[in-house]
Symmetry: C2
Subunit: 148 residues, 2 copies
């Protein structure tokens, strides 16, 4: 369905404005799908984002600051996001031996297990976009270019 019909706005000032609104609308739709999947595992998309980053690093640990720099939303309150993940027993925070200000964050066995479980449903996520591989690539390239 075209964006004009989705939000019942027939006219846009120009192609840029239309693309911006379409981006905002589409990601909202996308986040809804993500939330639905993650909710069954009792985590939020942002929490999954952190788990994904930790997995890429596993079995090495990583600091909160480094996590923040890799997050999709860098304005996040990483400190309290980590608190929530600790209370779910999927990550652990240890004091960094070389820098007492910093913390080393790691996945727990339970965290790894959770990621494995989610991975099994990952296919549902990967095929959310109704695009061919070539179109997906084209979209990604346009997005890279969009950010200037």
């Amino acid at each position: 369905m075209k964006i004009e019909d989705e939000i019942k706005q027939k006219k846009f000032l120009n192609a840029h404005q239309k693309a911006v609104i379409n981006l905002l609308y589409t990601v909202n739709w996308l986040q809804g799908k993500h939330q639905h999947l993650f909710k069954s595992f009792n985590i939020t998309p942002q929490q999954f984002n952190i788990l994904r980053i930790l997995k890429g690093q596993h079995p090495n640990s990583i600091s909160a600051t480094e996590i923040k720099s890799r997050m999709l939303d860098r304005n996040s309150d990483v400190s309290r996001l980590l608190d929530r993940l600790v209370s779910k027993n999927v990550i652990v925070r240890k004091a960094c031996p070389t820098d007492k200000r910093a913390s080393d964050v790691n996945l727990t066995d339970a965290g790894l297990e959770l990621l494995r479980t989610i991975d099994k449903k990952q296919s549902e996520l990967d095929n959310i976009l109704s695009l061919s591989d070539e179109e997906a690539l084209q979209l990604s390239n346009l997005l890279d270019k969009s950010r200037g």
Copy 2:
């Protein structure tokens, strides 16, 4: 800058996954820009979204339900969003004469004035994306297709 470098993740499972992550990342970036602009007017992007919908309708009124159906984020708590706009004196809520459950929402003069002021800065928004008109259109079409 490519998404790989932005989030320091070199490998993606496939083109779909990369496009999904790029979408989430790009919109986050985009919302940051929007928030920065709207903050100077003391409103949130969602509040602006509602004002924009009301403007498209002006001088006619529109119900809360209809506003919700046109919003970019349809899960919003429209009721309290409208409360906040009322308390800022930019909209008014009247009882709908034909349906006592419904409310008629309208922009106030102050609301129109606010929109005019924002419009003057609109050009900053319209050129956020570093894309040609053709590319913007192409992006919009890919997004429409993405949602299936």
